[in-house]
Amino acid sequence: MTTANRAIDTVIILIVLLLAWQALHQVVGATALPSPVPTLAYLAKLLPSERFAENALATLVCFFYALILSYGIGLAIGVWMGVHRLSGAVGEPILISLYTLPKVTLYPVVLLIFGLSLSGRVTFGAMHGVLPVALLTMSAIRNIPPVYLKSARTLHLSRWQTILTMLFPATLPEVVAGLRIGFTLTLLGVLLAEMFAAKHGLGFLIINAMQLLQAEEMIAVAVVLFAFAALANALLLWIEHLLHRRA
């Protein structure tokens, strides 16, 4: 498929989503769901405001720390379990069942440990992101074709040469896929934490707007987050495709 076609498809989806939004607005009424045009006008006013900047910054800072933790711990666990077969075999099912668990159940525990603080929200975000990063890194390392290792030995590559010129490029595409999913889930975790208990951040802004029955603000913030997540995902997907094509 060409890039132009993809762009057209994306535009079609956006138009359909906007039409669906408008249609739902007609059905449920303006107090519950304002129509797209006033909401986007409200969004244009909201974006430059200081209140928005403060809360967006709070979310970004929290997300940034959570992401570093997710990637750092996830890669460490993934590499360890990928290289050491026994740990991998023992740990994989445990990681998978943790992955499918609704982690929001454990948020009160995190709150009891850290209190209503930044560290609590960061921990909760990282809890979501660590597992996919670890699982995909592990499978990337396990799926290296044995012939690569043999050719490295034939060429008498040193340990570091093997890692840099063979292991790293061979695992990169799948690892990047893990990082992409980790990105998404960390963001979800941070926002859930903010929605459940926080006094700052975009998640808090949405819940607060709902309690004050400010539907426009609620949806405007949701649109911002939607756009941020979709764009970041598109960028990471694009990198992933580039790596796959090169491989």
Binding site: I13, V90, I96, P102, L106, L191, L192, M195
Partner: protein, 252 residues
Amino acid sequence: MSRVAWIRIAVIAIAIALLEVCCRLGLIDHRVVIPPSEMADALARLLISGQDNGQIARTFGIVLVAAVISVIGGFALGAIIHALPRVRQSLDPFFATYYAVPIFIFYPVMIVIFGLSAIPIVLMGVATAIVAMIIATLNGLDRIPHVLTKVARVHRMGRIGTALLLKLPAAAPHLFTGLKLAVSYAFIGVIASEFILAPAGLGRVISDAYTDFDNRQMYALMLLLIIVATVVNMFLHAVDQRWAERRGIGKT
């Protein structure tokens, strides 16, 4: 049981024992985490007393409804989308982005539209689960070997016969993967919604217990949720493995 499975059980048992010891010795504050044995005791008493049975039934009922709607609806939508290649091609970027967007940001919108009832929770459960089922259905239908359609023609089978006797079994493993994902996503969607805001349900009870510093109740219900989610997922995983082995491509 294999050696690996024994080691795995030992690792989990040691982790639980360690938590127990740390709690009993006071290394972990009783107000933060209670010992696992006390969690189990609290859960047993809670289930026997039956005071939260209504809430438990409500939450698992909603999860079940959301999962059933997602599996049936997702399969139907997937089959329709698969039959319309142009629509499908346009939807590809949508599917690729769907799970990247934290859809819980739309839960408050649902509450404002439908009120504080079970409906927004079911909808969130379906919203998190149905797309996984659609994607799995598309994958399954894509991977039906061409030779099967030829076999159908050789045997002069009708459309319905082909669909039921050849296509459905050929796509079944992928459909089952979709079902597995749909169930665990429905769990996550429903519980998370109940946590954020709900009139009743397990998530609500746990979050109330947290606000009231009622640790025994909170940890008892958390334990219940974790056990149920793990058992359901493990069961579905085991069925999946079994099917894979029967087709001769499974891991042993």
